[in-house]
């Protein structure tokens, strides 16, 4: 039997509606918008000003620190303004607006499809290349990749885990990427192995993608050091900690410990592809695969989208927003963020655009907790969501901290199983936010 993680987990309906549709290029937008915080860490700092002309691949914002990433223009044209824009976080954030004129690329970017196998750069050169290309985790968390590839000195890394699980229902972007660009992914994995200085990589894929497993198996049969590991379907297997446990059996200790503490580095398969393009093709992170899907959507599809394209344009490509849409989500249904409207631009972490019909979108009325313990059984981190939510509502931050609230990965298993339809994760997030603040204040005092 295939591996999986041990504690908790749920089985949401997969609903992979767009698994069969090939990746198509989305048309260029009229105006591209680049929010400055597309990643975890300090926002990027604009290095262009109003009226400047930019090409595809021109850097428009520098990294705001080590824990940050630069941003490149995905279009050619003129900088219209630097203003605030409503982004996927649900708030207005500073962003660079570029009016599109033509499609001319920076010289030096290799736009051909030919597979480039050999990489002659040194470890440090590759790392610089990844940092300069502005690559962040493409699974949705948007953690700057170069930071992940520079583990603390005292940690010995022995395995690179490639996250090709895609356990979120509906999303198929990674699945299609593996089917259509397997060679590039394998080269990307080898580049990452070189950066980390190790010789073992495991690509974890859930069993519901047998075609991808088979294809990658046949491609890696001659390559030493890369193993394809089918995993039993269970959400949230794509969570970093769950995936590490499923693949290696090791459990990452609670925060502030990192995967590196158990000798693992996890990279999303989309990130691996971006690394390949950055290192071998000199192409910064300016486009990504986005799944546009939903039950009422006419043409669920996978699009190769230039960053900064408004979501409304992608929805049009998929046949327009269904009449009964009640919720528009950036990402998957378990962890995605609700969008306030369809003007939001695609950013580095936009893995999917999901339209949920109103009948499924509206939450049912919240009832008394009947203490059925289903949230405790579902929690993949071994927490007690009912207790954390109660503590949060009572503002008992001490109780929340004692009960490991900072371990919560916000996967949503608890809330999605609660028969009383209690907004458990809403409360847990609040407590996590408050307790996090208290811990930071405490550490600052020391």
């Amino acid at each position: 039997m295939a591996n999986t993680f041990k504690i908790g987990g749920v089985h949401p309906e997969p609903n992979k509606l767009s698994a069969g549709s090939r990746i198509v290029n989305a048309p260029l937008p009229k105006q591209a918008v680049f929010p400055l915080s597309q990643h975890i860490g300090a926002p990027a700092v604009p290095c262009v000003s109003k009226g400047d002309s930019v090409l595809v691949g021109t850097r428009i914002a520098d990294a705001g620190g080590f824990m940050s990433a630069p941003i490149h223009s995905s279009v050619s044209g003129k900088v219209a303004k630097i203003d605030t824009v409503l982004d996927a976080s649900g708030f207005r954030k500073p962003a660079i607006f570029i009016d599109v004129e033509g499609d001319s690329w920076e010289p030096g970017i290799d736009r051909t499809d030919t597979l480039s196998l050999l990489c002659s750069l040194t470890q440090q050169e590759v790392l610089d290349c990844i940092r300069e290309a502005g690559i962040v985790g493409m699974g949705g968390a948007c953690f700057p990749t170069h930071v992940k590839l520079s583990p603390p000195k005292d940690c010995r890394i022995d395995v690179l885990i490639v996250n090709a699980v895609e356990c979120e229902p509906y999303l198929t972007a990674d699945h299609r990427l593996m089917l259509e660009h397997p060679d590039e992914i394998i080269v990307g994995v080898r580049i990452l192995l070189k950066v980390l200085g190790i010789d073992r990589a495991v690509i974890g894929i859930e069993e519901n993608k047998p075609d991808a497993i088979q294809l990658l198996r046949s491609k890696t049969s001659m390559v030493s050091g890369i193993e394809i590991m089918p995993l039993r379907m269970k959400y949230p297997q794509g969570g970093e900690k769950q995936l590490i446990e499923a693949v290696t059996g090791r459990q990452v200790p609670p925060p502030p410990a990192l995967p590196a503490n158990v000798g693992c580095v996890v990279q999303n398969v989309g990130t691996v592809f971006a690394v390949y393009e950055a290192v071998q093709k000199r192409k910064p992170l300016i486009e990504r695969i986005v799944t546009v899907t939903g039950k009422g959507v006419k043409n669920p599809c996978n699009l190769r989208v230039r960053l900064g394209t408004p979501v409304s344009q992608l929805i049009e490509m998929a046949g327009g927003m269904p009449e009964d849409t009640g919720k528009l989500i950036s990402g998957g249904p378990m962890m995605g963020r609700p969008l306030l409207d369809d003007s939001v631009p695609v950013v580095k972490g936009t893995s999917g655009i999901l339209m949920i019909p109103e009948s499924e979108a509206a939450r049912l009325e919240e009832r008394n907790c009947i203490r059925c313990a289903k949230c405790v059984q579902a929690c993949p981190m071994g927490l007690e969501p009912y207790l954390l939510a109660t503590a949060s509502a009572a503002q008992d931050w001490e109780c929340a901290e004692e009960n490991w609230i900072m371990s919560c990965i916000e996967c949503g298993c608890c809330q999605s199983t609660c028969p009383s339809r209690r907004p458990l994760l809403d409360w847990v997030r609040l407590a996590k936010n408050r307790v996090g603040g208290i811990i930071r204040a405490r550490n600052a005092k020391k």
Binding site: L86, F91, D341, D426, W427, R429
Partner: protein, 307 residues
């Protein structure tokens, strides 16, 4: 011996012995407390609202006795006479405080601020404000889930379902500040009560640029700065596209109210402008407000604008 007598004897002797034990224990383990702490605690309201910065009324009373002066010790709930009595007990002088009241600086009622989305998460302002900009285009104004109502220990703030905003019952408000801390967007502020509870303040906390703010809410402050120029007392400052009236400097002349193109400056409890100031009826009605005195606020403002 009859059974009744036995029972009486047994119970009586047991009671006596246990009583003696209790007496001895109480004497041996008695904690010496300053009797003044008890006296002060009795004077205090006993709501344990935390407005003074201490965990509860008893802790405040202890601090009053322990500290050398009454500096920084102020129960905002108590009337000044009570504070004077406390001061008399401790033997320290107390400064005469200025009475304050909680003011909701948002006028984004359902009419002024159209809902463009539907929030259906947990009914908590803190959660709603943390997750998203909110149901309306204004990401700064009232969220409307009523965290302030839950925080109030004096039943002085309530949500008005008609306008979707909290309304302060100014006769009940003790200015403990619990609601100001509970509001995740900081729209509630403690301001001077002034004579007859008259107040002029900017009923908006939107720091977006003018066009964005205006699109979101009909009475949003757009940061035009007209009020700043109109104010003869330099009480108004403009920062981040938002005007703020310093209640320490404001003399309630209401020039800014007339000047504001967005009608976002609010003047409450003033008599209608044309009516003679000395008429006994007007101040009477102002000092004894209706059960929900701030509810007619928007109307009052509009009356003034018309006049």
């Amino acid at each position: 011996m009859s059974p009744i007598l036995t029972a009486i004897l047994v119970l009586g002797i047991t009671g006596l012995v246990l009583g003696l034990v209790l007496f001895a224990v109480a004497r041996k383990f008695a904690v010496k407390t300053d009797p003044r702490v008890g006296q002060i605690t009795e004077l205090l309201p006993g709501a344990n609202c935390g407005g003074c910065g201490f965990p509860g009324c008893a802790a405040f009373a202890e601090a009053c006795v322990k500290q050398d002066s009454m500096d920084g010790l102020k129960c905002s709930v108590c009337k000044s006479e009570v504070m004077q009595q406390i001061a008399a007990i401790t033997g320290h002088a107390v400064e005469e405080g200025v009475p304050m009241v909680a003011v909701v600086r948002c006028n984004g009622s359902c009419d002024n601020r159209q809902r463009v989305n539907r929030y259906d998460g947990a009914r908590s302002c803190a959660i709603a404000a943390m997750q998203t900009g909110g149901e309306t285009g204004c990401f700064f104004g009232c969220v409307g889930c009523g965290d302030c109502v839950g925080a109030c220990r004096f039943d002085a703030i309530h949500m008005d379902p008609e306008i979707g905003l909290p309304v302060v019952a100014q006769d009940k408000c003790t200015a403990c500040g619990a609601c100001t801390k509970a509001c995740p967007r900081g729209i509630i502020e403690l301001r001077n009560r002034n004579k007859m509870d008259r107040r002029v303040y900017v009923g908006c906390v939107n720091r977006d640029k003018g066009p964005v703010a205006k699109k979101a809410c009909a009475v949003a402050c757009i940061g035009c700065g007209k009020c700043v120029k109109a104010c003869p007392f330099e009480a108004i400052t403009l920062e981040n596209n938002l005007a703020y009236i310093d209640f320490g400097k404001c003399r309630l002349c209401r020039k800014c109210v007339d000047e504001c193109p967005q009608h976002s400056i609010v003047a409450v409890n003033f008599p209608p402008k044309k009516a003679p100031q000395a008429s006994p009826a007007a101040p009477e009605s102002a000092t004894r407000p209706a059960p929900t005195p701030e509810q007619p606020e928007p109307e009052k403002v509009s009356v003034e604008q018309k006049s």
